[in-house]
Symmetry: C7
């Protein structure tokens, strides 16, 4: 009976819920996970792919502007549209104000578009969770997470996609155990460990993992996407020390 509330994004159910948004969130619960950890040295993003060997290139982590990187989980074509939109927003900002759009402003702008899809007829919410990793002069490194309802929050470490609750919990525990901030290198190890736990694949293989870092060095924001060999090296280190 309560079903009739869930066929349109623009209807509240009698309990005050927006079912279409919840279903869009459900979509992402099947998606391959993506993790982010913020350290004082920079931010690391790690994403898992399917093991389709002969597919040449896969990307779940995108650069949005000179200071912002994003990791994604959810419907691939929705991701494309949002990433394209975000880049356009950033470029318009740069054209108007001659400055790089700050990460949170970009996130907020993109989230308003997602929110509009939950409140307008003839649309469906975007089936995408996103991580925004950025740096700006005033706030330094920032890690933001957005959901299909168009809400965003700030985090030190967070996971989106399959088993994201378990992974986020693991990250929180590990970070709570460490005293003080951790190094970027430790963050990579930690992210990989959390990913392998949440992954449903019997074994996580190096070519299924995408690792990217954002660092601020010498007045430049540097994006580094790890080479397959570097990812392999991370895996080897991981095996050396059992659970760390």
């Amino acid at each position: 009976m309560a079903r009739q509330f869930d066929t349109r994004p623009t209807i509240f159910s009698s309990e005050g819920r927006l079912y279409q948004v919840e279903y869009a969130i459900e979509t992402v619960s099947y998606a391959n996970p993506c993790l982010g950890i913020k350290t004082e040295e920079g931010i690391v993003l790690v994403a898992e792919h399917n093991s389709s060997n002969h597919c040449d290139r896969m990307e779940k982590i995108y650069q949005l502007n000179e200071n912002t990187l994003c990791g994604t989980a959810g419907i691939a074509s929705d991701v494309q549209v949002l990433v394209g939109e975000a880049r356009a927003i950033g470029q318009r900002f740069q054209f108007c104000y001659g400055a790089i759009m700050p990460t949170e402003q970009l996130t907020s702008h993109l989230c308003d578009i997602m929110q509009a899809h939950t409140q307008t007829g003839g649309k469906r919410p975007f089936g995408v969770y996103m991580l925004f990793a950025g740096w700006d002069k005033e706030l330094g490194y920032q890690l933001l997470q957005s959901d299909p309802s168009g809400n965003y929050t700030l985090w030190r470490a967070v996971c989106i996609g399959k088993n994201f609750l378990a992974a986020t919990h693991l990250l929180e525990q590990e970070l709570a155990n460490k005293t003080g901030s951790i190094s970027l290198e430790d963050a990579k190890q930690l992210a990989l460990r959390a990913l392998s736990r949440t992954s449903l694949a019997t074994e996580l293989l190096p070519d299924m993992v995408e690792v990217a870092t954002l660092q601020r060095l010498q007045d430049k924001t540097l994006f580094t996407r790890l080479e397959p060999s570097e990812v392999q090296a991370l895996f080897n280190k991981q095996k050396a020390k059992p659970t760390a």
Copy 2:
């Protein structure tokens, strides 16, 4: 049978009710509460957050223009959209008339937008209750509350969100007991006490509480967001005197 009236915002039920608006109001009955108390020295707003430790920053109280602050309860992404809209309305006013938009005028304008969402097809009402705290030359301090139907009312002390009826009742009783106006400092204590009663969390922790004040001092409207340490101090005071 009567159910069929509740799937569109633009339908009256046979009893003359607008179910979609009522469901939107229902939404807010799960939201973390936000309180406001108006004194002769200024206005205090207090909001509760979830205890998600590793989330960097949370905001439920926003500045709208030089004279107006707002506290919110409800769907986070709807809040973002309304706050953005309110700021734009205020700026357009300032651009046209060279003056700061008065709080009630701003509230009224924003409420018309919310009302339109209850009367137009292909939209849903906003799932947001808001508190507007402002000052202007003619009316002095003002505390307004809006609901998803787009209605707003003026209050001395009011609560929105979870258990708002109980909290508002508590505030009324406490204020009725006091003879004369209370100081801003007492208002903070009172707000915190009311919040801890309505909170469903077993214990309300300092880092889950956001406290902001609006004061008019030396021809300037001052917004103060309390530092975590100041909030802690308020908590300590609270414990010192049992129920006050």
Copy 3:
């Protein structure tokens, strides 16, 4: 079976009724009442509020232009929208013709907007009854009443909102008993008496009642909103003479 006719404003039922309009009218049957009495000395409007003590200010009677006052009963946010619309209509008229818009013309214009909401898809009728009290050079004092269907009628004394039929009947009887016209002061007493009969509150308190008058004195149209003390005085007089 007949139910399917009542989910859209733009459908006639098989008996030729517009259910959505009737439901909108139903809405107002729960609203606090508002009364108007026209005398040769002027017009008095009286409205009842809920007894929410700590709410600073409540308004159910609004000035629309220099010659027109309106009293309202129904959905508060719909009222706001219609009052805003009416003021804008009046100002546009004044800008075009350099004269104050006559009350009936203003009423007629606003009613056309209400009617459009009963004949256009994707809208709902306004859930508002209104009283328009005005004066103009040709017709003198006028008291008009509009309903959600967009119809308006001229009255000597009328009530809208809760128990409006009983109250209107009472007013008619009382006025029929009097020979000749009554004074504005008597009209206030009569309005208060009628209101206290229709009110469902066990006892009608002075701070729950809003009283306003429109008079033409020395080529000026005067609006007077009674101070709480003046309302109290009316209440005291009322008690002095039992049923008058």
Copy 4:
């Protein structure tokens, strides 16, 4: 089963009927009647009102332009919209061509608007029957009747509203009995007699009846709305001669 055809104005039923238009026509079967009789001396229109004594003024007969009068039966707010539209159409014509718009052309134009409401989605047909009484140089006096489908026909004597079939039949019979044309004064008597027969009120009172005539005298079209005393006189005459 056949019911599903009657929820939209833009659907033919399987028998080729437009139910929404028929329901709109049904609406008018509850409306107070309005009669028109065309004589060689002019046209008389008579309408019945409800007996709400304290309502100041009631109008069911409107002047549309210098040569045209209309009587109405049906939803009062729909009437307002159509009358306003008709006046605007007439004024636009006068502005373009510097001549008074002929009655039939005005009727035809207004009927096209009504027809559009029976063929376009998201609208409902107008719930209004109208009588158009006019004079022009070529065709002399004309009496036209329009229905909610947007059709219009020319008549010598016709009734709209409650029991219109019986009344029209009565008029036809009476006119058939008379040899030659009848005088305007006789037409008034006849109209009143027909109205009192169709009226469901136990007794038709003078203040419930509106009488208006259209005459062409000395190159001017004259509209006369009878004063209450004149209506009373008609009633007195009526009683003098039993059934005439």
Copy 5:
């Protein structure tokens, strides 16, 4: 079950039928018939009306431009709209090209409008059959018939409305019996005979019949609408020779 296909004009049923168009055609099966016969001397159109004596004027045959006449059967208000549209089309043509729009081109243009109403959402097909009688320099006399689907065909003799199949069959037989072309006078007799057979009225009266002819004489296209006396004469002739 198959019912669900017939509620929208823009849906094919599973058998590939457009039910809404068929229902519109059904509508016309109740309409009073209209006949056309093309001879070498001109074209005759004959239409039947209801026997509503006191209705002043009835028209089912309209002139569209200097060379074209049309007869109609179906919903009267739809007819008005189409006739108005056809006249406007003809005038625009004349304005652009300085020539009278040929009958078939006019028909084709009008039929495209009717077709659009069978293929666009939010519309209903026109419930009208039409006969177009015209003359042009190249093709001489032409008699065209259009249906609600927007299709048109060329005929020597054809009937639309009630029992149109029987009447068309009768016309075909009679014309087949005659050797060579018939005179316009014989065509009138034949049309009247066919009409009286299809008419459901117990007896067809002269004042229920409208007769019009289109002839090309001395480089002018002449339209003649028969006077009541001329129609009476036709009826008298008819009775003289039993079945002709």
Copy 6:
């Protein structure tokens, strides 16, 4: 249960079918057939009509531009619209580029319009199959067939409408038997034979058949529509040699 997929053109069924398009195709399975055969000497198109004797002229084969002819089967009013559209497309091309629009380009353009009607809400697919016979400098003679989905294919010989599969099969067999290309005269005979087999009429009569040819002679594209006598001659030849 699966029914719900077939009421809108813009819905895929669970098996991935577009039912509305299939129903539109079904429509054409009742239409009178039309055949085309391409030879090295030109193209012949043959269409069957209903045997309505007194209908003056029937056309199912239309010229689109100087080089293109089309044969049609399906809803007659849809055909009119598409033919009109095709001619306009061709003229716009000629106006822009000063050259005759090639047949395939014209077909492709028209097919895009048909496709849009299968993918847009509030429309229905066109219920029309078309044959396009054309010549251009580069590709010589071409015979194309389009269906309601907006797809088109190139053929040597093809049939559309009633029993088109049987007829196309027959044409293929006959052409396969012949060695080398056949003459245009033989193609006419073959087309007629195929038509008489597919025709459901007990006997195919000469006045029910429309025959047209497209030939390129002396740098001109010639269209020939056979006179009734020529069609009769073809029929006579046919009878002379039994099955050829």
Copy 7:
């Protein structure tokens, strides 16, 4: 019960799935397959057609711009629209930037259009899978595959249409067996072998197969569509060596 989620493209089901997109994908599971293999010498595309002998020309592989070729599987008229759109996109790019649009950028742009059809009301997703084969200066040869959801991925060898999973698996295995890259000639053989396995036709005939290659030779991108004789030669080679 869950069915109600699958009638609109803009609804998520309760499991977070977009049924309309899945049904569009289902559509393609009946389509004739198309294969692509990328080698270091170029890319080969192979497509299967139905064996309709007398159809003159069939095309499932199209050139989009100077550097890009595409192979398609799915609804033929949807393919036409997308190919037309892609060419227009490419030409606009060339007009703006004076350079050939890179393959991936073109693919991405086209995919955004497909995605929009999965998120907007009143549309249906495109029922088309596409292969994009291209070359550009920076990335060399590229083989991309898009699906109806608007997602695209990069591949070394991939199949779309009927049995595409089996075919893609076969291609992967064969390529995995080979050490190093394979020659273009071997790729053709491999593609043909994979096609004949997936084909449901009892025997794959040469005239049912379309083979095209894209090569970069002497600073030119060369497209070669194999002649029937060349395809025959490939078939002969195939038979010579049993399973290779």
